[in-house]
Amino acid sequence: MIRSLILQTSVKLLTPLMVLFSIFLLLRGHDESGGGFIGGLVAAGAFALYAAAYGSALSRKTLRVSPLELMSVGVGLALLSGLLPLLFGEPILTGLWAYFTLGGEDMKVGSVLLFDIGVYLLVVGMVLTVIYELDLFGLGLFPREEGGQVPEEYQDVLR
């Protein structure tokens, strides 16, 4: 695949914006359109785009954590939010809510947010696992360094 200067330049701006937007979608999800699933897809899209511009090795490096870990942590968080109510004598997966005032605004936060964050992380991890692993599979989907080599300093992120 050929490197594109236009794509690379715009991706530098787009990826952080998309990640921010995905978090925005995640947080507003309970009341407005959005949620963990959609947010996760947007975030995964951001890193997929980054991979398309710079190669999956760099995208992986930018993500910092392994997508497999994201999946595990995601399911773990969802499970945790499901088990939390047990401590309060409620059946599992009951939504727990806390109300407080911040800067004059009435706010609330619930255990379902933790659940949604879990969904978000799982979706990101799942999509990126597929994308990164398909690339390693030998299809050469994404651009690479000259001569097809991943730069020395990124070798370690490829396990």
Partner: protein, 824 residues
């Protein structure tokens, strides 16, 4: 809450041991032992509460949907208290022992994690008051023991043994679950404490025989009864602390516990008595004599354990008061001496890496403390007065003689089995430790404190409880027997019964056992002895292999039939069946007659429809894969637009994102592939066209017919009304996902995670395998190299002492064939 803490302490500990072990180092075993010790101390405070049939219960709902509640409920009566104390008490000593045995092992933290999981599952199981809670913990013990048996996972034999134990006990576990559901259907409750009050109802129901068979299938596989006992000797591949714990005090007793727990509900009928007693007696007799055919100390221990389980099962089958007393008493007797002997075997193995009895003698000079503990435990095992085992054997004989069930036969079988047990005790404690030191024994040295502490404590109990049987008998065993019987009773144990017929049988047993001990080497090498071992020892193991091969063959056959690897056929199968089934239903119910009404068609609806249809149609004619994918994406986007026009922005957004990602992924993959070729014959094209048209027609018809019926909006109204008040959110889709139907979402994301890991594993193996096949021009070949190395060059595990005693002599070969059967 106290009981919850008791149950979950082990699970919480399991989550942290990998980290704690690193910082505690060699002290970790001693530190972890504080947890089960604390549990023992806490549970002991309930001793008074369970006297005279008393019980304590605690309940927490963990699934509460209307009309279906699964309670995390616990019930502490004499039986569960006795087992819980045994599990946590022996557990504490095992932690100490394991810390010393596996000292310096690079996965020690992981080991403690599995061990804690196992202990917690066992405690949860014996305390459970709800059949489903019970089942979950029951399966938890299977899982944890799978991890423990396969702890040396670099060894293919360990992996095979772990699989075998898991498959056998899980198969039984599933039967048990069905039995539980049937019991629920009969009694209308899952609460064990209520079910055992309704024995008459269950025994009169039409499901009684099915319930007994299913429950016994679970109990017999778990507690290694004939013909399932082959997994237990193979499970000796586990590190010795595991064998000592799982196969003395705990896991194999789980099946005994099931039978004892449900005894008030299921026992008493002829069917129960005949089946349970005869299987128990057969198992006892076969395994006691099989034990003498082995020269691996763990092999002998394994089969004598099976013998003990057979005896316990037989006693539960007889079911008279004295038999149940003997049963509970023997549980304790056996746990004490067997855990001791296992730990001693491990200490010997740890020191000189030899477990072959024929190569060991005279160890007492180098390992005096270990030898002393071994001697005490073996005397208890052989039933010599004044040891605890003597009392146990006396009561067992009393039960056999007064059981009211085929008394002469049962007593005869018991004596025959116990004769072999006496000889087995000699093999385990006399042969290795006495006589002149063998070559191997020259290298021995006294084991560290952690390795002898547990055996010494338990051996001391073997003596003390023999001298003062009232200590345990009155407060713990009496209430336990009462719980099994379903009515309070008391148990007064005395060492000396006077000159009774039981004493005579004991004397005969010991005398014959000593004679048999000296005849053992000759019998072991005799053709009859070997034939016996081949038939009932390794033979059953080979039978297991045949069954597994058969199942795998069936699986391969049906996979080849249904999933031949060509995506086109998968699609054809799935869609073709959809057409047949849905279309067939249409015809059968004559669901015809619908009107198509275009009156409220908007111009944008038509435009979207056109978009979807044109996207779909153009795929048929496109030769470029890339163009086909984009065209498919256009259809997808059109569907997203439909969602948008009907006011479902969340669905539309998800659809947009999924479509975009799919098109990108497809495009990235397909760019590597050649253009579509005329690879399909004309006949194939016609078939594909028929399926496509069929699917279109059936689905369209389904939609149109569905629209003929009035729309039931009660669900929609429910969510619209409750979404803010119940779930604190205004986005209905999201409140459904994370609150109203969160358990569905949880299930879905777990499935996604499993799929993700599956994809990862498949692609990792593929890319490791593709190395050097020409398509590794890029870096992937080099990148993947380390993965392959981790698989191939795995370091040998530290805990592999003398897995197979040096072969060459006939006895070694025997073991290699049976106990250390290599992976086939």
């Amino acid at each position: 809450m106290g009981i919850l803490a008791v149950v979950f302490a082990g699970f919480i500990l399991a989550a942290f041991t990998p980290w704690i072990t690193r910082s505690l180092g060699r002290l970790s075993g001693w530190m972890y032992a504080l947890v089960p010790t604390g549990i023992v101390a806490y549970l002991a405070t309930y001793t008074a509460a369970v006297q005279d049939g008393g019980a304590v219960s605690a309940s927490f709902d963990w699934v509460a949907v209307e009309a279906f509640t699964v309670s995390l409920s616990f019930y502490l009566d004499g039986l569960s208290l006795f087992f819980a104390l045994l599990i946590s008490g022996v557990g504490a000593l095992i932690y100490i022992y394991a810390g010393a045995y596996l000292e310096g092992h690079h996965h020690l933290g992981r080991f403690f994690s599995y061990l804690s999981m196992f202990m917690a599952s066992m405690i949860g199981m014996v305390l459970a008051d709800n059949l489903l809670t019970f089942y979950i913990f029951f399966e938890g013990t299977s899982f944890a023991s799978f991890m423990l048996i396969g702890f040396n996972h670099y060894s293919s034999e360990s992996r095979r043994s772990a699989w075998q134990a898991l498959l056998v006990t899980k198969a039984g576990g599933l039967a048990l679950l069905v039995g539980f559901v049937l019991m629920y259907m009969v009694t209308g409750t899952y609460q064990i404490s209520e079910i055992i009050q309704q024995g008459a109802l269950i025994q009169q129901s039409e499901f009684y025989v099915a319930i007994v068979i299913l429950v016994l299938a679970g109990a017999f596989t778990k507690s290694a009864q004939f013909p399932f006992y082959f997994w237990l000797p193979n499970a000796m591949k586990a590190p010795t602390p595991v064998s000592a714990y799982l196969h003395s005090a705990t896991m194999v007793k789980a099946g005994i516990y099931v039978m004892a727990r449900l005894h008030p509900a299921l026992s008493g009928t002829d069917f129960w008595v005949i089946v349970v007693t005869s299987f128990g007696a057969l198992t006892m007799l076969l395994s006691a004599w099989l034990a003498l055919q082995y020269t691996d100390m763990k092999g002998v221990l394994a089969y004598t354990t099976v013998m003990a389980l057979g005896l316990l099962t037989m006693l539960l089958g007889i079911g008279s008061e004295i038999a149940l007393k003997a049963c509970m008493l023997f549980v304790l007797v056996h746990a004490l001496y067997k855990a001791t002997l296992f730990m001693i075997t491990g200490a010997v193995d740890h020191g000189i890496h030899v477990r072959d009895i024929t190569k060991l003698s005279g160890l007492r000079h180098k390992m005096p403390i270990t030898a002393a503990a071994a001697g005490l435990a073996a005397l208890s095992m052989a039933g010599i007065p004044p040891f605890f085992g003597f009392i146990g054997k006396e009561v067992v004989y009393e039960a056999a003689l007064n059981g009211g069930v085929a008394e002469t036969a049962i007593a005869g079988i018991s004596v025959l089995a116990n004769i072999a047990l006496v000889a087995g005790a000699g093999l385990l404690a006399l042969k290795p430790f006495w006589g002149s030191p063998s070559e191997a024994a020259e290298h021995a040295h006294q084991a560290s404190a952690g390795l002898w502490f547990g055996p010494v404590v338990l051996a001391a109990f073997c003596v003390l409880l023999g001298l003062f049987p009232g200590w345990f008998g009155d407060p713990f065993l009496g209430p336990a027997v009462g719980a099994v019987m379903g009515e309070p009773t008391s148990l007064y144990l005395v060492l000396w019964h006077g000159f009774t017929i039981e004493l005579l049988l004991s004397a005969i047993t010991v005398a014959s056992g000593v004679a048999l001990y000296f005849a053992t080497p000759a019998m072991r090498n005799h053709a009859i002895g070997r034939g016996f071992e081949r038939a009932f020892g390794s033979g059953l193991d080979r039978g297991y292999d045949r069954v597994i091969d058969g199942i795998l063959g069936l699986a391969k056959w049906q996979t080849r039939l249904l999933q031949n690897g060509v995506l086109r056929y998968y699609m054809a199968t799935i869609l073709g069946f959809t057409v047949l089934l849905v279309g067939g239903t249409f015809l059968r119910h004559e669901l015809g007659g619908f009107a198509i009404d275009f009156s409220d068609l908007q111009i944008y609806d038509a435009a979207i429809a056109l978009l979807i249809v044109s996207g779909a149609i153009s795929i048929i004619f496109l030769r470029s894969r890339l163009a086909a994918v984009v065209s498919l994406g256009i259809s997808g986007i059109g569907i997203a637009l439909v969602y948008l026009t009907f006011g479902a922005p969340d669905l539309a957004m998800t659809q947009f994102l999924v479509e975009t990602l799919t098109v990108i992924l497809f495009a990235l993959v397909l760019i590597e592939l050649p253009n579509l070729k005329e690879s399909v014959s004309n006949g194939g094209r016609i078939r594909d066209a028929l399926i496509a048209v069929g699917v279109g027609a059936v689905i369209t018809g389904l939609m149109l017919v569905a629209l003929q019926y009035p729309f039931d909006s009660s669900m929609a109204n429910f969510y619209a009304v409750n979404t803010y008040t119940e779930a604190e959110g205004r986005n209905i889709v999201n409140t459904i996902l994370v609150d109203f139907r969160a358990i569905d979402t949880l299930g879905e994301i777990v499935v996604l995670m499993i799929a993700g890991f599956g994809i990862y594993t498949l692609l990792s193996y593929q890319s490791a395998g593709s190395e050097g096949e020409g398509n590794s021009e890029g870096p992937e070949g080099k990148v993947d190299q380390p993965r392959r190395e981790t698989l191939a060059d795995a370091p040998a595990s530290a805990d592999q002492p003398a897995a197979a005693p040096a072969s060459g002599d006939a006895n070694g070969a025997d073991i290699a064939e049976s106990v250390d059967k290599p992976d086939t």
